[in-house]
């Protein structure tokens, strides 16, 4: 049984190092509370250590990534963070490390400017009041723009490696399907009807004298209720969106190709606790079902076996070690009994964890590497912790 006293350069860590050194996109997934963000940040640091120009993106509005990097906040603009890490004692980098937090509104605005057929259309959409609602409140809007942003950044040529820290949702992979869902809304019959009507006839949307029949009456009643301008604007908005449908469909297809391609690997982070393992099992199943490539399973916060302490307890009269350290004989005997039990139980916990992880591995990872990281002493949420993580992820000093 691996003792996990110090990291060794095994096959799994070598494989992970290969992904960090060669892939373009690493998507870090996992349930909440397993150390996903910390590991995403450490992998970014590792990438920069391997000489790559690396960007770590988080979608999570909680400041976990900023905290993990020892910063107070992150913005939508990629921010160089080499300095902050060096101050915290990070080993020298040969590449560059940047981080950003996706600002949903800014990302939507960027995307529109990139995608709209011309500046005028982009401006009109940005000023339309329905645009604000759609980009903020439509279910899946956040996930949609996160995917879009990942695709844009990864294919921009500005970065060697992009590490994405996915939000801790119950179904983290759902966000990959958001683009298709949003496009389905745009492709909806009602949208098409209004869009075609307005475009082909060149009519004012609410020209009641020309739009006859029930639809026309319904519109004019609605107009009295909401104000004609509101409906007019909605009509405009729908027409404007139609211009985006083609480019967005193409880009969604490209994104799907990118996620399934050789440049991308998914990393599943879990802890050995049964609820986290249950979620990891679902994630692994989903990855497989969607044909998305698994790079490695990272099991964080593994209870190490008691290692050398077991050897000590096997010695006859080992409690003398306590006496030599200044404990009175009576107290030493009492403390020895407690310590003995603590070691015995830790060994058992380590075995239980190992058995549950082995079961997950056997059934669901199909030979993908398993990287185990021990529960490190105190969970410091700052840059020092990242540095401590590095050797466990395969960043070992040259022998």
């Amino acid at each position: 049984m691996e003792v996990l006293e110090r990291p060794v350069d095994d096959d799994a860590r070598r494989a992970l190092r290969g992904h960090v050194g060669q892939r373009t996109v690493l998507v870090v997934t996992g349930s909440g509370g397993v150390g996903k963000t910390t590991n995403a940040a450490a992998l970014g640091l590792f990438g920069a250590r391997l000489g790559r120009r690396t960007l770590v993106i988080t979608i999570d509005p909680a400041r976990r990534l900023a905290n993990a990097l020892g910063l107070t906040a992150l913005s939508h603009v990629p921010q160089r963070i080499d300095g902050a890490l060096a101050d915290a004692g990070a080993p020298p980098l040969t590449g560059d490390l940047f981080a950003m937090m996706l600002d949903i509104k800014a990302a939507w605005d960027d995307m529109l400017r990139r995608t709209a057929p011309n500046e005028e259309t982009a401006k009109k959409i940005l000023e339309n009041r329905f645009y604000a609602t759609l980009s903020r409140d439509l279910p899946g809007a956040h996930e949609f723009i996160a995917c879009e942003c990942l695709h844009h950044l990864a294919s921009s040529g500005d970065w060697d490696l992009v590490v994405l820290d996915t939000p801790p949702t119950s179904n983290a992979l759902d966000f990959l399907e958001a683009p298709a869902r949003i496009l389905a809304v745009l492709d909806n019959d009602a949208f098409r009807y209004f869009a075609q009507r307005k475009q082909s006839l060149g009519l004012r949307f609410l020209d009641a004298s020309i739009v006859q029949g029930a639809a026309g009456r319904a519109q004019s009643v609605l107009a009295r209720f909401t104000g004609a301008e509101v409906l007019e604007e909605l009509g405009d908005f729908i027409v404007l969106l139609r211009d985006l449908y083609e480019p967005l469909t193409r880009r969604t297809r490209e994104l799907q190709q990118m996620l399934r391609g050789e440049g991308t690997r998914f990393l599943v982070v879990t802890s050995p606790a049964p609820p986290a393992l249950a979620e990891a099992r679902l994630l692994l199943t989903e990855l497989e079902r969607r044909g998305l490539p698994l790079g490695a399973l990272l099991v964080n916060r593994v209870t190490p076996t008691a290692g050398r302490a077991v050897g000590l307890l096997a010695e006859e009269h080992w409690e003398r070690h306590l006496e030599r350290a200044g404990v009175a004989p009576a107290a030493a005997a009492r403390l020895a009994a407690v310590l003995d039990e603590a070691v015995r139980q830790q060994e058992k916990v380590a075995r239980v964890e190992q058995a549950s992880v082995a079961e997950l591995l056997e059934r669901h990872t199909h030979g993908a590497p398993l990287v185990r990281i021990p529960r490190l002493a105190d969970a410091v949420h700052d840059a020092k912790r990242l540095v401590e993580l590095l050797p466990w992820l395969g960043d070992l000093p040259a022998a």
Binding site: R308, L313, G326, L339, A342, R351, V352, A377
Partner: protein, 306 residues
């Protein structure tokens, strides 16, 4: 207002919680505790991989109700089997059932009718509760979200379709599930931060929707304290004098890890008590796989705690 009867004397027990907290283990232990009290118990898992069979050592549990041992009946409620049964009851003929229900389009349609699966499962539970002479039914619910969905189904359908033959049945189902003299929803959790958060969310949702009366909070896998104040003080004292005794330093690492974990566990157990439900704590048995003997041990703890 009369006080509801003691929890274990209620007829219908739903065991809910996040995936991996040990719902199946608790459901099995609860069923065994009830059998020991002389009850005639149906233990139902809901369309799950068979976990009850191995835990109880009673062979395979499937859609056929089976008396696994005196007083303990086991079943796996499969929504498709339940729907077929219900449809056959209504349609009377197997051939007609096939024409309608094995049809590809109907199948696709039924899959997308919201709550159809939950309704047939809940209906089956209700049918067992009303038509049969089980004095207790223990339902091992699917993970959090679904567990609540299952509880709410009858009410949702009853509200949506207030008349007709289906409405009559679902209304009675909803009444049974809501009845504090007959039903209890037990929340299973672990002494860890996120599972306790989830338990709080679950309690809040059940309370807010008023869908069913709450029962026990069961804190599973409690390690318990080894180190008292004296032992902790001794540890600190020894730490100052380990110097170059490497093995002893390593032993102290183990001890400090343990003390930290005990502290964390104490905090989370306190938070579990804040759920506002009577709490039962089950010991961490430190085994990779639990078996019948472990279930019996936990059943005893449940009996004492109740």
């Amino acid at each position: 207002m009369s006080t509801p009867p003691p929890l274990l004397s209620r007829q219908l027990h739903y065991v809910c919680g996040k995936g991996g907290v040990g719902k199946s283990v608790v459901a099995c232990a609860l069923a065994r505790a009830l059998v020991r009290q002389g009850e005639r118990v149906l233990l139902a898992q809901v369309s799950a991989p068979d976990s009850h069979g191995p835990l109880l050592g009673v062979g395979v549990v499937n859609a056929e109700v089976r008396e696994a041992e005196p007083g303990l009946f086991v079943v796996d409620i499969d929504p498709h089997a339940a729907m077929k049964e219900y449809a056959l009851l209504t349609l009377k003929f197997e051939a007609l059932y096939r024409t309608v229900f094995e049809n590809r389009l109907t199948k696709a349609f039924l899959r997308f009718v919201p709550s159809m699966n939950e309704l047939t499962m809940q209906g089956k539970i209700w049918w067992h509760a009303v038509e049969h002479h089980y004095s207790r039914i223990v339902v091992d619910c699917p993970s959090t979200g679904h567990g609540i969905k299952l509880l709410r189904t009858a009410q949702v359908i009853a509200d949506a379709a207030p008349v007709g033959p289906l409405a009559e049945k679902t209304k009675k189902m909803a009444e049974l599930v809501r009845d504090p003299t007959r039903t209890a929803v037990h929340i299973v959790t672990l002494p860890e931060e996120l599972p306790v958060n989830e338990a709080h969310d679950l309690v809040a949702e059940v309370t807010r929707t008023g869908v069913a009366p709450l029962g026990y909070a069961v804190v599973n896998q409690v390690l318990g304290p080894l180190f008292d104040d004296q032992a902790r003080a001794a540890l600190t004292a020894v730490r100052a004098h380990t110097h170059d005794d490497v093995a002893l330093a390593h032993l102290l690492d183990v001890a400090e890890r343990r003390v930290e974990r005990e502290q964390h566990e104490r905090t989370q157990r306190a938070r579990a008590r804040d759920l506002g439900l009577p709490v039962i704590e089950l010991p961490y048995l430190l085994q990779p796989r639990l078996a019948r003997a472990d279930i019996e041990r936990l059943a005893s703890v449940l009996q004492e705690g109740a």
